[in-house]
Symmetry: C2
Subunit: 458 residues, 2 copies
Amino acid sequence: MKKIIITFLLIGPYLIAAQKKSDEIMVASIYEEVLSNSPIYESLRVLCKDVGHRLSGSTGAAAAVEYTRQLMIEYNFDTVYLQPVMVPNWKRGPAEILKITNSKKHGVIGLNALALGNSIGTGPQGILAEIIELKGLEEIQKHKDNIAGKIVFFNGPMDPTLLKTFSAYGSAVSQRSSGAAKTEPYGAKAIIVRSMTQSLDDVPHAGSLRYQKGLKELPAMAISTKDADLLSQLLKDQADLRIYMENYAEMLPETQSYNVIGQLTGTLFPDEYIAVGGHLDSWDVGEGAHDDGSGCLQGIEVLRVFKSLKIKPKRTLRAVMWMNEENGGKGGKAYATLSEIRNENHIAAIESDRGGFVPRGFTSTGSDKQKQQFLKWKTIFEPYGLHDFDQSGGGADISPLSKQGTFLIGLLPDGQRYFRYHHTEKDVFEAVDRRELELGAASMASLVYLLDQYGLTH
Amino acid sequence: MKKIIITFLLIGPYLIAAQKKSDEIMVASIYEEVLSNSPIYESLRVLCKDVGHRLSGSTGAAAAVEYTRQLMIEYNFDTVYLQPVMVPNWKRGPAEILKITNSKKHGVIGLNALALGNSIGTGPQGILAEIIELKGLEEIQKHKDNIAGKIVFFNGPMDPTLLKTFSAYGSAVSQRSSGAAKTEPYGAKAIIVRSMTQSLDDVPHAGSLRYQKGLKELPAMAISTKDADLLSQLLKDQADLRIYMENYAEMLPETQSYNVIGQLTGTLFPDEYIAVGGHLDSWDVGEGAHDDGSGCLQGIEVLRVFKSLKIKPKRTLRAVMWMNEENGGKGGKAYATLSEIRNENHIAAIESDRGGFVPRGFTSTGSDKQKQQFLKWKTIFEPYGLHDFDQSGGGADISPLSKQGTFLIGLLPDGQRYFRYHHTEKDVFEAVDRRELELGAASMASLVYLLDQYGLTH
């Protein structure tokens, strides 16, 4: 026994060093494979240009399910299948009008606007009302007696000085998601929200709201940041400014859709799962290129790299395209529920849902022990420009897995450009850079390789 | 004496910690100022859209000199002046033709091409010749007997697997800069070069070549990567493929131009200088947005931030727009020469000439002592996403200052997208992201603040 211990003490460090070296070589091969041979950019082009946007319940969503299923069959994954899930079926409707009707300076002014996802419409009678401008939900109390009969205009901007743009988004987005529910009790007639972006431009940003049970549902629209500034400016000189809103958004009954799953079955521990991917649905404007076509195809690319480099995974790897992240999260919930029923042990799940930008690190959420093991790999990624491993977080679609103790990981790309495109007509194929997309995929594949090699104990 | 030493040992660490804290607060203010109030994005729009491209000797270059001079006068810098410099005056000429004339498969095929900067033209008689394809200068020797009377087609690609894209560029670019001089002795008639980019597209990339004294000058053009692949493919099946080249490029006599300089004079050590900026000239396609409108306006922004935050610099700060980096480097040389004549002690110079992308660090070149002082500041930048301080390098325009012992620094932005745009019609205002541009400027201003506070001993 003593001999064994001494032997280990002598050669242990060399074994660990040799193992690390071999991991580094494999990671280098993965990056090389992706940067030399990846079809991901062309796949994204097809998903964006031939399929296009794909809100849950739309024909685009159905086409995206079929396209990604076929793609994974073509790559010869061990199993490719659809997981049924019922999803909300919200439609924007045929026309959207938002205009200032009585500006003393300019008369009638059309505004660049989009109905918020899940919002009801006004119908053909429209809504004409005066406006009250608030900078955030926290101002409701102060102005609660001045809300009745008005359109509430939430104009709190995303803080441009925050380097973490998702923090700026997180601080501002409650206006969009809860503005309607929070002002309805005070008699608001409708909601207008400043678009969630630090850019100053004419592009309205879609995104969902949540109504509250028992309260009346109010129509809600987002306007571009330039129009928000204009409206705010005009209101300073003319308190009786009125806005006319007309749209035909409606929530239809739930409809059938699917998560799309491709699998490489583990050779040693097939009952341990590592899921990796993004959400297949997008908003009904643009092409869902960054949000989240990139994440879906990066998930598929991870498994393709294993096939191409002939790495037989020890554990079972799944590329998952979750459905309905944008306005319900039904796909993520269904996946976790079915996983529990089938006693699948997900040791880790990686979601890419922050755009196809150059990777800067990974977020994570799990036990201290999991995090410690995970952080050991940080130095392997630093030569590839990934330095940020400290932020917590995983992803909306994988978060329901946390109940089973899964270590949740999010790809963390550079976030500076994301909110130029997020939920807009500008989120198109051309907004994604090939190398940045590929580097994200290579980073995810490398991490999956390490997770597969060493596992992760809870 | 003992008492003093003991006192220092006791409170020294606290003083250093307090100083670091105060530096961190100032750097935070600088980032906040730039991200909240910077006019840099609008200035870049004017430089790109109203001035446009600006090759040395062009009317665009003259307009850019005047625009940046006026901008710095408007910002009320202590001194704003022009530094005369004679520059090459190369003109592309009225028409450029490059076509395959006898493809058995496709007949005549026009190719996307641009004459290389400094190249002579073919004149109206053109050049019609067969082609020999080489993958790099190192293949010349092997094929030297097969070059006479032919157009040499250099088709060595930039290595897509290198994460450091500038390394990939550095390895491939000798084909463009020296291909003509190196093949002339073997009787080549003209040169075609695969564009310097990892992208596969239809966009030819300009860039300069250098002829060698005593050798005949050969006309040279760059072709798009897609056309390079096509040409290479066709050559495999048809060795007698011929290309016709016609263009009217010419080098006119040197002409008068200027470096543009704005200065904040130091309050404590006015004879110590810190220069910061980029090069004002660009290629004669696109708008020189990343290369190097961004760097010029970031240099100006650094001084504007000092003014705006009412920081009186101890040392003399100069925003410098060097002229003629692209095809001669005359501005950088003239600046260093004049600086020596006037005994100006440049303790440091910072150049931004790798595009207006999100900053990842700084390159540097200098003595070990300078580098040690510089590296102490690394931790101040890490929270802002700048981690890479290890690479050597400065910038083409500041390198002539190294003779006087100046510490040379280059802004190191993320390099993944740079070679999509470099020297092309795609390098336009719209290719620059506002936040990325601003973050680069804020990083430079923060570093200048630290250099100004603490100086740098050789």
